[in-house]
Structures are given as structure tokens and as C-alpha cells.
Amino acid sequence: MRSRSVFLAVLLREFKISLTQKTDIATIFFFFLIVASLFPFAVGPDIGSLRAVGPGVVWVAALLSSLLALHRMFESDFIDGSLEQFLLSGEPLVLVVVSKIFAHWLITTLPIVILSPFVGMQFGLSAEASWTMALTLLIGTPVLSLLGSVGAALTLGVRSGAALTALLILPLYIPVLIFGVGGTVASLQGMETIGHFSILLAFLCLSLALCPLATSAAVKIALE
């Protein structure tokens, strides 16, 4: 099969499967909202302090939601043998992996990205800063999905997989978090954000180039 049709075939499959798991996906979405809403209770309703922590809170909530959703990427396919079928099919596993990661991001994280400006305004962020934040999330969350896919693949079938995955990849998330929030805060203060976006885009390019390779190697190891 040609690369594009493999990619699209897997993507379509993921969408069809996700239609049967709508509740699961909606749960992740509401998790994001609940986590973000938790902080005003912790910090107090003063809009000034909320504005100070807002970018960080929304970013961390999105990050944790992305983390929570990771088990959906490979786990069920691993258990029912579909992943092995992908490996045996003769199609390049890297292509399948990229498609799965992209589908995963579209289904579980893109809704969060779309909703984020409204959550941002709840934290007193200006409209401009909220949209900047949404843009940082748009570029940054795929990086999180790519990095997360490595962790998810490494812990396939391992006990305490979810907590272990978190331990493995949260350190790797830190640079994305730094520049995602950094860009938002810069926008809030009326400063230039082009630097932050450049670095985030660089992260995206690098992770897009390297993570699928690591992830498919990890999948092969898990299937041995």
C-alpha cells in the first residue's frame, strides 16, 4: 500500500474505534475542565492571583489530560493482538505509529486546545493572551503526544503502567511546558512571543522526526 493510504487507513480506523468509546474520550475532556477549575478553590477567587497562575494552570491541566489519555494509544490494540497484526502486515510500523499518534492527538487533545481560550478567560487572561495560549497548546500538545507515545509503548503490558509512564515522560515534558507557558505570559505582558513559538515549532519538528522511530522500536520490543 502507498504510504498515504496506510496513514489514512489507520487514521480512519482510529476514528471509527473512538466512536464506540465516546464516554472514555469525553471523560478526559471533563478531567481537563475539572483540574483547571480546582485551582481557583486552592488559590482564591481574586482575579489578579488567578491571572498570575492562569497560564501555568491551564497548561498543566492540558498536560495532565494528555498524560491520562495515553493509555488509549496502544493498550487495547496490544491486548487484542491488533498491534501484532500491524507489525506482521509488512507495512512500515513507523507509519502506523505516526498515524495512531496523530489520531490520538486529534481525538483526545484537540478539543482541549479549542476550549482553552475560554478557560483562559476564566482565569482573567486577556483575549489576546488566551488565543496565544491556545496557539502554544496547538503546537505544544502534539509534542506531548509524541513524547508520550514513547512512554506508552515502553510500558505496554507492564504492571503499574500508567504511573510508570507518567514518571518516565513528565521530565521530558518540562521544556515544552516552559516555553508554552513562557509564550503565554509574554503575550500577557505585551512582549514578543516569536521566540517562544520558534522554539515550540523546533520541538515539534524534532519530536516528529525522532519520536515515531523510538516508539516503533519500543512497540517491536514489547511484541517480541
Partner: protein, 250 residues
């Protein structure tokens, strides 16, 4: 040209013979003994210079003497991670058991060095900066490095098949080693943004040559110690993983 000549030399030295656990096992004991001795040979002069030669610092008084542990530990924590990732990668690519065992042996020592760097960093920060912890770029990066080590060891521990554990942790180590510079520079940028022009905690002001000498001697001592202790640990790992092989029962 040079590569093939090096390979020929190694073959002549019967270097490749040591690439099996069985042959490396006795050699590791001898290496450990030699390097423990070397660690002491560098450590005693290092401590002497650190406490009896290096003068009192104008700004930090005697508190700066922590540097003779803090900097060597920090250097070793980073160095061991790279070496660990190297051997893990070799084990993954060449499918050699011993290389992966060596990576497995290095991790706890690397984690210990990271812990010591953090502990001594906190004990240095308290008298000089007033708080036990500062989100200084180096200390924060050390903290992240500790997480990377712990992640490596946790992944190994949760996979039952040792060969799968070898390969999976190798991928993690490789991903980690690529990320360490990225994490370091991101944290450094984040730190300068929020703290402005504050002096780095870990910079000893105006390094007198005696201070530098003490630091280098202690760094060498820590290096020799790390090798020695890793050799002992790889022996333990070999005993553990090869216990069903006949040769071990002799």
C-alpha cells in the same frame, strides 16, 4: 584506516574475549580493586587540599568547602548518565548482554551522585542564600536528572524479562540523553527569565587555584570510585542474571 588498526590492536590484546559475562566477571573484580585504590589516592590529597590548603573564602567563609563534594558529584551524575546511555545503546544495537548489564550497573551510582549533588546543593544554599532550595538552573536540572535515573531504574524493575528490560530501558536512556541538553537549556532560560541577574548558586566566586586543584582531585576520586563500585555491581548483576549458567557454580 585508524579504525581498522585499533580493531586489530584490540583483537591482539584479546579485548573481545571480555565481552561475555563469564570472562568479564573475574576481570571486574580486579578492575574494582585497582580503582578503589585510585579513588583513595586522589581522594586523600583532594580532601587535604580542600581543608588544609585552600584558604577561607572572602564572601562565603568556610561554607564554600562543600564545593569539593557538590561539583564532583554533579559532574559524575551527568557523566555517568551519558556513559550509561552509551552502554545501553551498544547493548541494544549489538545485542550484547554485558553492555546492557553495565548500563544497569551504572544507574544506581549515577542516581546516588545526583542525590549527593542535590543534598550538598541544599546544604550549601541554606547558609549562603538563606533557603534550603533554590530553583537555580543547575539544581533544577539535577532534580530532573534524578527523575530520569529513577525512571530508568523503575522501568527496568517493572519488566520481568531481563532482555526486554535491557532493550526498553535502552530506548528510554537514549531518549533521555538527547533530552538532557534540551532540558538544561530550557531550565536555564526559564531561570534567568524569573530570577534576573542573580549569581548562580554553584559558582564559587573567584576560584583560587588551590580551590580548583582540590575540586579536580575530588572529581577524579569520585570518577575512580564510580568505576570501582560499578564493577562490583555488574558482578552482582552477572551473578543474579547468569545464576542458571553452569560456570557460576564453580
Amino acid at each position: 584506516m585508524i579504525c581498522s588498526q585499533t580493531l586489530q590492536l584490540l583483537h591482539f590484546m584479546r579485548f573481545w574475549k571480555y565481552s561475555t559475562p563469564q570472562n568479564f566477571y573475574p576481570a571486574a573484580k580486579k578492575i574494582a580493586a585497582v580503582f578503589f585504590v585510585l579513588a583513595i589516592c586522589f581522594g586523600i590529597p583532594g580532601l587535604y587540599v580542600g581543608f588544609f590548603v585552600a584558604p577561607t573564602d572572602h564572601q562565603q567563609g568556610e561554607a564554600y568547602r562543600i564545593i569539593f563534594i557538590h561539583v564532583p558529584a554533579a559532574w559524575m551524575s551527568m557523566f555517568i548518565y551519558v556513559v550509561m546511555a552509551f552502554w545501553a545503546a551498544v547493548g541494544l544495537i549489538l545485542n550484547t548482554r554485558l553492555s546492557s548489564m553495565l548500563a544497569q550497573a551504572l544507574a544506581p551510582t549515577g542516581a546516588l551522585m545526583t542525590f549527593l549533588a542535590l543534598w550538598t546543593g541544599a546544604f550549601w544554599g541554606r547558609p549562603t542564600w538563606g533557603t534550603w532550595w533554590v530553583w537555580d538552573a543547575r539544581l533544577t536540572s539535577e532534580l530532573v536528572l534524578l527523575f530520569l535515573y529513577v525512571g530508568f531504574m523503575a522501568l527496568r524493575a517493572s519488566i520481568e524479562d531481563p532482555r526486554r528490560a535491557d532493550k526498553a530501558s535502552a530506548i528510554l536512556a537514549i531518549v533521555g540523553v538527547v533530552n538532557v541538553p534540551i532540558i538544561y537549556f530550557s531550565v536555564k532560560w526559564w531561570n534567568t527569565l524569573h530570577q534576573g541577574a542573580s549569581v548562580s548558586l554553584t559558582k564559587a566566586p573567584s576560584m583560587a587555584s588551590d580551590m580548583l586543584l582540590g575540586m579536580l582531585l575530588m572529581a577524579l576520586s569520585f570518577w575512580m570510585y564510580s568505576i570501582a563500585v560499578s564493577m562490583l555491581r555488574v558482578r552482582k548483576i552477572i551473578r543474579d542474571r547468569e545464576r542458571n549458567s553452569g560456570w557460576l557454580n564453580n
